[in-house]
Structures are given as structure tokens and as C-alpha cells.
């Protein structure tokens, strides 16, 4: 497929391009911009990598994702040229084996690729980290998340009902991109927990279900407040409760107000993770012969023969991924995964692998 086409760069030409691209199956259903040679060339100036560098092969078609093809899809979704390094790093994340992209692209489960931007790239690219962080309104969030989906379609061969058997999907499949509210957080940023310097630009990608709000304006203690979150994260229909021993991670997003409120009780991020780990559970008797029972390993600490044994959603406390994001008011949000796929974090790097502290370091 050659997406880099000669188009008439008039308004009528752009509309005709969208109509034609839609008919060819090159879109997510929304209008796309024509990836003219000029726009693609301009975007390619925002990475130090060569246009024909192969980032990897995207399943299930195993289409070759070159830097140029990433740029073409990014132009089509309306990305600004300087977003390109984020998208290259995101694709590198998704192609790590533990991400299990082949499985995520073809499963019946409604996962979408949640792109999380860390460090200075958030402010440089104006990535929303605060109010309506999972919603609309910011070009970087809207178009970068969308570009990943378009690459899954145009390079990876994703097609609903044909190669993608997701029964329902979810709206995040159009776009799913946030930044962490590092300035509002009392804790170390997520990418720092994963071994990167605070001032390094990094991204995480995790395949996740739709966000689910946790509203608790009343609880007076961290235990009671997090009890509301634990309940939302370990419901009987959740994938993770039946697959906690199968590469499971589950995500809790808290606002800066909630994070600072925890901290006012002396609770750090690890305390939140430990509490959710220990309390987001259901007894074996409720799970047996229901949901995904007996189709995947439970966490190693569970004796599944014991009706009273409590089944957790992950193997270890650190598998509860805690992010600070959203407007500065009191709310939490559970973003659950199917398990059998893990999040991946990578720094934005020069082509020699050196992490960058500004996306501008990559511009030519």
C-alpha cells in the first residue's frame, strides 16, 4: 500500500482524498488529511532517523513500519510535525514481545492502545495532563492517539470483524492519549519509577479498556477511599480477576487532589499500590465457574481449591500502575487491562540510543 500519494492540495482535493481514502479502508472513519510529499517531508525533519529506517513489523499483517510510514499516518490524523518522535517511540513500545500486539490486534477483548507521555515532551508538545485528561480538547492527545490507531489499520492490517474480532471495542480506539500531571503529583513521576531520569522525555503504551470513574467524595480515610477503587477494579466481569497470574497489570489514575490527600495521611504511591493489591480481590467461591475461570493462571499466592481464598487482580503490588492525571479535584479512575499483555515504557532517543531531554534535540 502506498499512502504517500500525489494529491490536489486544494480544499476540494483534500475532500476528494478523504472520500477515496475511506473507500480504500485507510481511515478510522473520521476525515484524514492528504499526506502530501511536502507535509510528510516536513514531519520527517523532526526526527534524526532516516525515513527508510525500519522501526518494526506491525501484526497481524506484519506490515513494515518505517519512519516514513509513521510520518504519513501522523500527517493523515492531523499531528503536528514535532509529535513524530513520540509516535516512533510508542511503536517501539508496542512491538516489544511482552506487549503482545498480535494478540491485542486480533482479540475479542475491547482493548485500545493508551499512550502516556512523560517528562518535558508533555509541555513541549502541549499534551493535556489535567482537566478532561481522557477526553477531548487537546490536539496532541487527540491526534497522537489517533495516529497509533491509524498505523494499526494501515500498516498492521487491523480491520474490525475481519482481523480484529473485538466484539464491542471502545471509544479510546479512536484516540487514547494522556500525559501524567507530574507538576501536581506529590510522588515521583511514573517514568522515574521505571528507571528513567525525571527530565528525560519518555512514553508508555498499555493496551487497556475504557476508563471507569470512581466517585467517592465522602470517605474520610485512605483505606475507605481506596476501598471504592478496589471494588471497581475487581468486579466479577473483569478480565483481570481471572487472569492475575498471566502478565497482569491494572491501572489506577488519581487526580492531584486525591494524590496529595493520600500524601497528607503519609501514604506514598507504594502504599496505594499495596492497598489495592491486597484489597482488589474476590473470593474463589464467587469466581469459580464464572467469567474467565480456569482459562488462565491465577496469582501464585492463590489456592484455587479453597473457596475462601481471595483472588487478586495482579501478582505483585507494583503491578498496580498508579498515575497522577486529571483536573485538580477529587476523583479516581480505573483503567483495566485484559492481562496477558504488559505496558512498555521507553525514552525518546537519538538514533544512537541516547535519551533526549527535549524533542527539539531530534529536529534537523
Amino acid at each position: 500500500m502506498n499512502l504517500d500519494v500525489e494529491v490536489d492540495d486544494s480544499v476540494e482535493g483534500a475532500i476528494a482524498y478523504f472520500e477515496s481514502a475511506y473507500e480504500k479502508g485507510w481511515t478510522d472513519g473520521l476525515p484524514v488529511f492528504p499526506p502530501t510529499k511536502e507535509r510528510v517531508a516536513e514531519m520527517l525533519r523532526h526526527t534524526d532517523r532516516d525515513p527508510d529506517d525500519v522501526v518494526g513489523k506491525i501484526p497481524p499483517r506484519n506490515g513494515v513500519a518505517t519512519v516514513r510510514k509513521i510520518a504519513i499516518n501522523a500527517v493523515m490524523t492531523g499531528c503536528r510535525p514535532e509529535y513524530l518522535p513520540v509516535l516512533i517511540a510508542a511503536i517501539e513500545c508496542m512491538l516489544e514481545p511482552k506487549y503482545n500486539l498480535y494478540g491485542r490486534q486480533t482479540t475479542t477483548h475491547p482493548g485500545a492502545h493508551l499512550l502516556i507521555v512523560h517528562g518535558p515532551a508533555r509541555t513541549e508538545l502541549d499534551v493535556n495532563c489535567k482537566f478532561n485528561v481522557l477526553g477531548h480538547g487537546w490536539r496532541a492527545n487527540a491526534t497522537m492517539g489517533r495516529a497509533l490507531r491509524l498505523m494499526m489499520i494501515n500498516i498492521g492490517g487491523n480491520k474490525p470483524g475481519v482481523t480484529d474480532m473485538a466484539t464491542h471495542g471502545h471509544p479510546g480506539r479512536y484516540s487514547y492519549c494522556i500525559g501524567e500531571d507530574e507538576e501536581g503529583s506529590p510522588w515521583t513521576p511514573f517514568h522515574v519509577d521505571r528507571g528513567f531520569a525525571k527530565d528525560v522525555c519518555a512514553v508508555t503504551v498499555v493496551c487497556a479498556e475504557a476508563p471507569h470513574n470512581i466517585n467517592d467524595q465522602v470517605s474520610k480515610t485512605p483505606e475507605r477511599y481506596l476501598g471504592s477503587a478496589a471494588s471497581a477494579m475487581a468486579h466479577l466481569g473483569a478480565n483481570g480477576i481471572y487472569r492475575g497470574g498471566l502478565q497482569s497489570e491494572q491501572i489506577l489514575v488519581v487526580t492531584s487532589e486525591s494524590a496529595n490527600w493520600f500524601q497528607s495521611f503519609g501514604w506514598g504511591k507504594a502504599d496505594v499500590q499495596k492497598y489495592i493489591f491486597e484489597n482488589a480481590r474476590q473470593p474463589v467461591r464467587e469466581l469459580r465457574d464464572r467469567g474467565g475461570w480456569n482459562t488462565a493462571p491465577l496469582p501464585s499466592y492463590v489456592n484455587k481449591e479453597d473457596d475462601d481464598a481471595m483472588v487478586g487482580i495482579v501478582e505483585r503490588p507494583e503491578d498496580i500502575l498508579v498515575l497522577v492525571a486529571g483536573g485538580h479535584l477529587r476523583h479516581m479512575n480505573a483503567i483495566l487491562t485484559s492481562a496477558y499483555n504488559l505496558s512498555v515504557t521507553r525514552a525518546l532517543t537519538r538514533k544512537d540510543g541516547t535519551p533526549v531531554r527535549s524533542v527539539k534535540e531530534l529536529f534537523r
Binding site: P60, R61, N62, T106, G157, G161, V162, T163, M165
Partner: protein
């Protein structure tokens, strides 16, 4: 596909609702010849007897897949 590449014969069960999808994926992966054993949909939450009956009907296809005698 990984087992077959290592010389281990396989028989992959799918229900007919997944047949077009599975054959398409096999083609994309360069494995058009992967032996698929198709049984009627659905299989989730069906009685044991019904499932056994569905599998018995395709036993020849399973043997053929595993022995290479189509």
C-alpha cells in the same frame, strides 16, 4: 504457527464464526496451510455433552492434521 515451524504438528480448533478471520490471519502470517479444525459456533457456556458431540464429529480432521494425512 510457532509449533509447526518447530516441526510439531498441530490441530487448531476454531468455531465457524472465526473461520474467515482465522484463514485471513494465517494468510497474513504466511501459513495458509495451517491445519484448522472447524466446529460449529457457539462453544462458550454450552453443556459438556454438546461440546463432546461437536468434537467427535471432527475427530478425523484432528487425526489428519496431526499425522499429515489429509
Amino acid at each position: 504457527m510457532i509449533f509447526e515451524e518447530r516441526g510439531i504438528p498441530t490441530a487448531t480448533f476454531i468455531t465457524h464464526s472465526f473461520e474467515t478471520y482465522a484463514r485471513g490471519l494465517c494468510r497474513m502470517q504466511g501459513w495458509e496451510a495451517l491445519p484448522l479444525v472447524v466446529i460449529p459456533h457457539p462453544i462458550a457456556a454450552r453443556p459438556q455433552d454438546e461440546l463432546r458431540a461437536k468434537v467427535r464429529k471432527v475427530s478425523d480432521a484432528v487425526i489428519a492434521a496431526l499425522t499429515g494425512h489429509a
